[in-house]
Amino acid sequence: MTGTTPLGAIFDLNVPAHYLSWHFIQISVPNFVVIVLMIVVFVAALLIPFPKREREP
């Protein structure tokens, strides 16, 4: 379907996903990307300062 319309998805989701294999571990690229993104967001949430506001302890 991708490419048939100007507003088609950037990534073609109508094909089987590529897989990464390492010994007995096998994971699809989309799942691997989501896990990496979750780790990135988790670390960013710890490091990026929260907007200051007057609060009582």
Partner: protein, 231 residues
């Protein structure tokens, strides 16, 4: 506001409605249920992922209600149906994404401390039930993808010994689990989880600065911190 203004007479206290009301107010006083301030340590982005999860869940439910009312033909064959279907899917993606980050944050801050074990357990059970809710959604799509997932899952469920309880290739059965039973359980668990958070408060961070204090002060502060956490 933590105690009722009117103390019922002994005869009135035998009524179950009176007992339930008094216990509800005692266990969950309004100032705890809807607080007007939060401790300073919640000023961190890691504390927002719980409410992000709930916000995503609200979109999941709203889009799911529309999909359920319009039906499979609508969500497969119309432009608006595709849009709402996609919104349902991506809200679920954000729901699980935020819930996992929330889980990691609470795990590393030991969120079960200070009498908060039930809060941790209800959150963990919510996560597991939500996986079942998402799975039954995948097999309720009414397309080749759902057929493939159902027949792969059938072998998986048989392998763990619970295959006789569920027929994952039965659309009606899976749809009932997906739109009625499991969402109800998830909603009840989330309500209980949030009420427990309101009751015990957000878990304080580990006392990381105690190690830098003088020995005497460290012992005193550590004792106080332990007492506070165990309360």
């Amino acid at each position: 506001m933590s105690a009722p203004a009117h103390r019922p007479a002994k005869a009135e206290r035998t009524m179950w409605t009176t007992r339930v009301r008094e216990r509800a107010v005692r266990e969950m006083p309004p100032e705890k249920l809807l607080p007007d301030r939060q401790p300073s340590y919640v000023s961190s982005w890691i504390y927002v992922f719980g409410v992000v999860t709930i916000a995503a869940f609200a979109v999941v439910v709203a889009s799911g209600v529309i999909l359920g009312l319009k039906g499979p033909e609508w969500w497969h064959l119309t432009g608006l149906g595709h849009f709402v279907n996609s919104m349902h899917l991506w809200a679920v993606e954000i729901f699980f994404f935020a819930m996992v980050v929330h889980l990691w944050g609470k795990f590393f801050m030991g969120a079960w401390r200070g009498g908060r074990s039930r809060t941790w357990v209800t959150g963990a059970i919510t996560f597991l039930v939500a996986i079942g809710a998402a799975f039954t959604g995948y097999v309720s799509q009414q397309n080749f993808d759902s057929q493939w997932i159902a027949f792969e899952a059938k072998d998986g469920l048989n392998a763990v010994g619970i295959g006789s309880f569920f027929n994952v290739a039965n659309f009606g059965q899976m749809y009932t689990w997906h739109v009625i039973l499991l969402p109800t359980v998830v909603v009840l668990l989330i309500v209980g989880h949030v009420l427990l958070v309101r009751r015990t408060g957000v878990v304080p961070p580990y006392a990381a600065r105690l190690a830098k204090a003088p020995p005497a002060a460290t012992a005193t502060a550590a004792g106080a911190a332990t007492g506070a956490e165990d309360a």
